[in-house]
Subunit: 138 residues, 2 copies
Amino acid sequence: MTDVNATPETDLRADGVRVTRQRLAILHVLREASDHPRAEDILTRARQQDPSVSQATVYRTLAMLEKAGTVLRNEFDGSGARFELADRQHHDHLIDLDTGAVVEFHSPRIEQLQAEIAAELGYDIAWHRLELYGRKMP
Amino acid sequence: MTDVNATPETDLRADGVRVTRQRLAILHVLREASDHPRAEDILTRARQQDPSVSQATVYRTLAMLEKAGTVLRNEFDGSGARFELADRQHHDHLIDLDTGAVVEFHSPRIEQLQAEIAAELGYDIAWHRLELYGRKMP
DNA sequence: AAGCTATATGCAAATGCTTCTCAATCTTGA
DNA sequence: TCAAGATTGAGAAGCATTTGCATATAGCTT
């Protein structure tokens, strides 16, 4: 059997990590979310599925999933990290300054330019962070 | 008299803000720095010029200068802000993952692309943050 | 199905950075 | 020089996040 049915859960098992109720609840929240929730939001939502989930477990699980490459951590405004599942294509973010909404976008041309610039400076890029902060045009 | 001799100090006066020993010391530190110091570093260095400077004043002054557009706040790695004087051309940062060194660069082409992407999404960019994290090429 | 054991959890205390409170001290314009 | 009000230092408070520890539990082994 290959990984055609790979999910974060099966990945957890593969890593020898235990699949607990709490972890399933948190993964469920991340799968349902489309708004880059904060740790606190994840806690609230996870508790709807499993009231026993604690703050500490949310943080510990998010840290673990981040290390495993399953979730991405964003620090948009300096007041609390916001998370998303890393199951889609790489993308950057545009944050609406008025509503806080997050729009995702992807630009191969910008990525290409980034690599060129880094190369000129003698560097290989491991990762990057590009955030645009703006307001809806009138 | 025009602003040919404009400095952060004269700007302060112009804004009706008092020029204190502490603020001068902090501005001095920022002018001498070329390493994007943290608040703690700024406190230590400012105290060499004026031992009375307190942590609270460093934070208050940095916040004030940031609001005034005199300093830029960077949140490179999520563990403490790093500051720089906003007296030069706009630039982005490349952070060396091995040494923590910060290399500055500027790419009009990337900025242009950013503006185009934002426009396609219906947004005007107020500011942006672009950070490349990489390692020196062999 | 029951037992074992290391992993995972909840709770609460601790941390690290930043901000606030407030009495005392300065800067500045008159 | 003076008064008025802005600014400061010291320490308490805030917030998001992390950690210590006793208990609970997933998942392997009988």
